[in-house]
Symmetry: C2
Amino acid sequence: MEKRKYSIAEIAQICGVSKATVSRVINNSPSGVGEKTRERVLQTIEKMNYRPNALARSVATSRSGMVGLILPDVSNFFYPKIIRGVTDYMDTKGYSVIVANSDYNPEQEAKQLLNMIDKRVDGIILCSGVSNREFLTQFRNYHVPLGLVGRTFDSSLSDTGIGGDNVLGGYKSASYLLRGGNRRVVYVEGNPGTSGSRQRMEGYCKAHREFGLPVREELTLHGDYSVEYGREAVDFLLDRGIAFDAIMTGSDLIAIGIVSQLQARGIQVPEEVEVIGFDNIELTTVFNPHLSTVSKPHYDMAQHVARQLLRVIEGKPVPLAHTVVQPRLVLRETTKKRDYDREYL
Amino acid sequence: MEKRKYSIAEIAQICGVSKATVSRVINNSPSGVGEKTRERVLQTIEKMNYRPNALARSVATSRSGMVGLILPDVSNFFYPKIIRGVTDYMDTKGYSVIVANSDYNPEQEAKQLLNMIDKRVDGIILCSGVSNREFLTQFRNYHVPLGLVGRTFDSSLSDTGIGGDNVLGGYKSASYLLRGGNRRVVYVEGNPGTSGSRQRMEGYCKAHREFGLPVREELTLHGDYSVEYGREAVDFLLDRGIAFDAIMTGSDLIAIGIVSQLQARGIQVPEEVEVIGFDNIELTTVFNPHLSTVSKPHYDMAQHVARQLLRVIEGKPVPLAHTVVQPRLVLRETTKKRDYDREYL
DNA sequence: ATGAAAGCGCTAACAC
DNA sequence: GTGTTAGCGCTTTCAT
């Protein structure tokens, strides 16, 4: 139990050996140290409460043992599982993870990205980024392994990536609603500028095209990914007297806000208005009525990029570097029951 | 746009100046560099895409600009706000934050703590730790600034800390229920071994004592802080035929699981059984019925320790280093309405 | 098996 | 204003 931090040199001196030997011990190099000296060194390390300085090691080896995780907003209920997926995997591999929020803001995202570079992380995982192609392209010049989750549109921008097929997700959502006979399907998105948001819109449009229906400007709303915004959207629609019979959304949180406000204003869900969320976060089955939504396996996706990223960091081959997972429509209580529902299982 | 990472030496050489000068520029030392050279250096830095190596700087200055944040489980809905509170503040001060999960496990917590030491973080924020006093005491020997949130029981173990008064919280919860005429109040806790859990229990007992009521062994349950466990607890109680008329809990998540399962099994809340959560996370007003709960300002508390921690890191005086905030009883829809409810506002 | 020495990228006196 | 130099704590050849 000692008062200050010892360095490898001091430990060496105390043991009467060289720094090199101590170094070998703490890195437990299989060879190069006699059993007795190793034991002796280990003992004083223990006794002196010595802890090797990972930073110093990093500058010597140019590997930091840290990865960066950048996501829009940690406190958005969609992301915690992602964080766990990443941290869980990194933990097993001895990496630390620095997390930072981008707040759906390109400048902020860029700032965080550069900050990670400065900290010399061995790799970065970027979640549903809002950065434009140009910045990302330019960013590649820093040659730091980059993994993208939730942003699949361009594989040349990253070393690995995984994401749901958002246009398919948007399409499934919209077409299910349309097929059910709804004719005025509202689309409520979160923060604009997200790649996911654009893609879902694409799916929404595609579905309308197939049904030979026009996409009405007044039926697509943008705000942010919060419960609160879901509520606002409903008020907006209702107060302006805009007619609608179903709503598809860009996130479960928004959907929850929508359903809750719809009910508050005396509108029955799903009898009068059907609602479909997006993401299938845990909350969906805790909330009443249980939310119908579009599902993807977040935690697993996060673990997957984490694993892939480490492979690129370690220079191993990365099979199937860019993956897109097919989202599944999960029909619960905010959509009507129909006999063809089982087609969507 | 260049291919590899430059060092300060290379930049210096390219500019035909010394490393010291470049160093002065990147740290924008107010004096010591001529306007022209500064400009020139800045330009090549830009041009070469040079980014100073924060790690190298750290070993030179022995300040890393990183802090550690250890919490039980990132994906527990209680913690995201804490993370944001910390990251938001640290962001403004230019610190990065490494986050790690302890999973309510003392060994895991110890491991993460030591890992942070190795990474030479400038300080650590530990959330509702499960470490025992001995380990923490011993840990203090590493002399890294430590801030505790949610664990207030011993101020000598940390440099700063903030937490809700859990015994008061437990007391308020239980006594409100008791005052309302309930005689068999169940207490459903999360992971055992948490300091908070013990303290709430203390409050629960105190309330019973005041009302001259016995604390029945079979009415206190332990599991983990999840919705799922709340459901299990209800099944356990019901299946064993244990009578009860109210439930107080260790977390909102548990309470939500309880209410939801109570309803599923045909029991009216709050008519037949009243339920009170703990923490007042956002979810409480999204869930139906809105949860009655015990409230503390997490985000603000997190920001507060963050601020305090930086003060101790920077060697500034830290007024009111250890704070305990009074939790408030928030009566919503899972408790009955009573005329004295406003006393609790 | 062990040590000496150079080097990683940076900062911080101290000198000129 | 700018350069020289000596570290910071570690790893890593290369000797011995």
